[in-house]
Symmetry: D2
Subunit: 145 residues, 4 copies
């Protein structure tokens, strides 16, 4: 089942989120990084991130999303920032179900537009995303650091 | 000079923004689309979009940006959604100056991360973006409509 | 073992090559297409294509390559046009071994440059190609048909 | 007018081809590189490269192409390897005319398929290529060097 993140999920959530951060090469996030993210996800503060987990006895996956303004759409948009499934649960529909849950949450909020960004060479992810989403021609530029 | 959008800019701003929307193929936005965007840009409402214009006697360009939460960064990020320069003002540094103004505004807000999305085949734009920004490997997926 | 294609491979080769053509959406190639390709592959004609197969009792994979002129390199280049592994043999190193065999054949011919093209969304292929090759920034344009 | 490269073009051709090589970062090609390429282009040897130039009193542009085998097409394909227009002649249709001349030469040879590769960020080139060609989803991988 998919349910909102709960304070009791602290340890199991971090194990998953470390896997996700590691996928993007961030293997050495300090503990405060995880403390702060978790606190925000369960704060219930308006305008901040929401977290959902796939709970099958243990946590098999997570998804984090936020609503933010968009000038082209009064109702704003939903940004799905983080999605991760434990290695052991790959290929079982966990990721697909988590994305669908964000779609449902966005509909419930009256914000039909949902988007996410992924690395061009995230092949395993894109195999899923091509089925549940549509690749756009848009690419991201960043201010140089 | 670059300055914040002002209520008196209504007509000149719309001429530019229609050019921008047309660039992305949206030639038939209803008047309410422009009314609503302009109202939001000058509302000064916390959390909503900001607009800057390049004013050289007439308006030569515009940029719209917003700050929104990001789970990886407590201070959030700055999303530069719209950038446009009038045809007559191309190649004169207007776009570059407008991007720099957003960098400055983001610094002033304590939000150093600025990003934008652009179509992969927006060649003229990317000639500029490669000089003032860094292409990331991230591509955008959308929920199917 | 990897060995050159042999006239006795006719039927087993076609089963593989139909799988490859089908991957790119060509499900209805006429029989003459396969007849002609096979004839060329075993013709031994100078300048035409070579075929190698991975033979483990049955054929598990194939690779087709050709040497062609390149103005930047007097010795020319080696174009690996077709690579395919049977579904049953995926993940066992067959594709990797076939690519390596082309590298070896190219070295033996004094043509160190080997290249191939692949669809941007051939994720399974690219998982392998990123390990045994280097993605270039070059994309292909075609004359309109 | 567009005409085949001629031995008398030696110096003017090299000026153009150095511009092209420089565009791709090869500023220090030895003289032998140019000697050898020119010799091949005017050799008339079967199977090797052809060169065309845009001659308006002086040389404004060049194109080099070759026919090579393709296993999917008995008649082979035409590879347009090099295209360059002098800075002074940009935006005047020289590149477009040179590509069209290759299309015509390919038709005359019974080889309708013409293709070329270009760097993803060759924006000026792609502005032209999107008008006279079709971007394919194919990307190039190279054997590591």
């Amino acid at each position: 089942m998919i349910r909102p993140l709960h304070p009791d999920d602290r340890a199991a959530w971090q194990a998953l989120y470390q896997g996700y951060q590691g996928f993007y090469g961030f293997h050495d996030r300090p503990q405060e990084f995880y403390d702060r993210a978790f606190a925000r996800l369960i704060s219930g503060q308006a305008g901040d991130f929401h977290g959902l987990v796939y709970d099958d006895g243990g946590l098999l996956g997570l998804v984090h999303y936020v609503f933010h303004p968009n000038l082209w759409r009064d109702e704003g948009v939903c940004y799905l920032q983080d999605l991760f499934t434990s290695q052991a649960a790959r290929g079982k529909g966990v990721g697909r179900a988590l994305i669908q849950s964000v779609y449902d949450a966005a509909d419930a909020a009256g914000v039909p537009t949902v988007y996410w960004l992924t690395a061009e060479d995230n092949y395993a992810g894109r195999m899923l995303y091509d089925r549940v989403g549509r690749k756009s021609p848009f690419i991201r530029y960043n201010r140089p650091v």
